[in-house]
Amino acid sequence: MHQPNPIETTQLSVVLRNQPVLTDVSLTVKEGDFIGIIGPNGAGKSVLLKTILGLIPPTSGQVRVFGLPPAAARGLVGYVPQFANFDVQFPITVERVVLAACLARGRASKWQFRYSAHDRDVARQSLARVGMLDFAERQIGKLSGGQVQRVLIARALTIQPRLLLLDEPTASLDTPIGGTIYELLKELSPTMSIVLISHDIGVLSRHVKTIACLNIRLHYHHSKELTTEMVETAYGCPVDLIAHGHAHRVLENHGEGE
């Protein structure tokens, strides 16, 4: 029997407050995939991730994560939200924020009440990977927005997930740090499948293996090439996609200058 895919959605639709947010999305993510999803504001990108996480129930269609309903796959999936949706005044250190990931199902025994020395090692390694180890003892509110973002990535890594979902992880990072985060993800991608949401097509295209376009409906051909048609259907209007000196060609030849 072959391994079930990390993500398998079939004709997934989500309606929130009578508005269709996702329509007929069938997405397959295979082991080792590194997919970037682009799309305009309100295209349902975050909702797609939250549906895969089981935080938003599908209106119709099906979501399977490693062959399981999302709620049963918890502990296998890491998640980096777009915004820190917690109170930064909370009296908690960076280290304990990251350590909380050790409570993930399958990692922590139900009867383990304290974080173990091993938990601490894993948490500190994750912090080191995002360059935040020096801030381990800092209260979470005493960090900049970009630093919080890196802590959230470290927290997701500490789950040691088999599938990692990231929602605009580099939105509040400056370019050099953002670059190292992409390098880190590239380094991780053989060991886990990664789905990354971004609005920055240029940066995304340099690092991910394949790109999908989402605007309520999904346009995905399991390739890195974005056709102008894909982008235009997704964004609903012609988009200026002239690459600014990127090493890779993302767009098909579209007869520019003829």
């Binding site: 949706n85 917690f86 109170d87 908690i92 409570l103 993930a104 199902r105 304290r114 927290r155």
Partner: protein, 275 residues
Amino acid sequence: MIEALSYPFFQNALLAGLLASVATGVIGSFVVVKRISSLSGGLSHAAFGGVGLGYLIGISPMLGALGFGLLAALIISAVYLHRQGSLDSLISMVWSVGMALGVVFIAMTPGYVPDLSSYLFGNILFVPRQFLLYALLVDLLVCLCVFLLFNRLELVCFDEEFANVVGVRAGLIFTALLLLIALVVVTLIRVVGVILTIALLTTPAVIARQWSDDLGRMMALAVGISGFCVVGGLFLSYWLAAAHAWNIPTGPLIILIATLVFGVSAIVHKRCHTS
């Protein structure tokens, strides 16, 4: 002042206050960091309905308060978890319906009409012996639960969404927290009364938060501050009665002392962090 300690009723009150402070500091810290003080206020006012029912059907009013408090905790957590309707308006409803039921039940009670003010503002100087046992049991239960569930409680209070993502049963943990709050609130009805409960639950924890960036340390500090305020209030009310023949209830004095400590702490804290 010291001679106060030789009176058994004063010893009782002191012990009751210190026992109540342990659970108050620990649970109050969760109430403050999770920002659910209005919810806790709702629970204490709901418990007042149970006081009235206790008089009406002839059981211990504190037992009635406990039942109503726990029931209100379950209702609020069920609504909170299913996000049906607005939590804010539900809390107001639970809050005032509890008071209304309490007054109605007491009015229906035939014969002797008890003095409500001891439930509204507390009456720690005349706590019965069995209250000490109740406060001790609540302390043990609270400390045991918090010791065992600390990491999970911290995560659920800090980031409920992430708790769900990693498969921690956030709903169950939150319900457990509300039930513990209800237990503590019922203890505090004896100490400072229904109306002042939120103040004693939150003020020491808010002061403690100013001086610690760690939830565990915040709790320890809140227990100490709460103990200080309760003991201070007891001695102050004894002294006012002994020296000036002013009979001022202890509960409001405890709250005023806590507020004073908060003011001083805020000023000192600001000085420390600007210079």
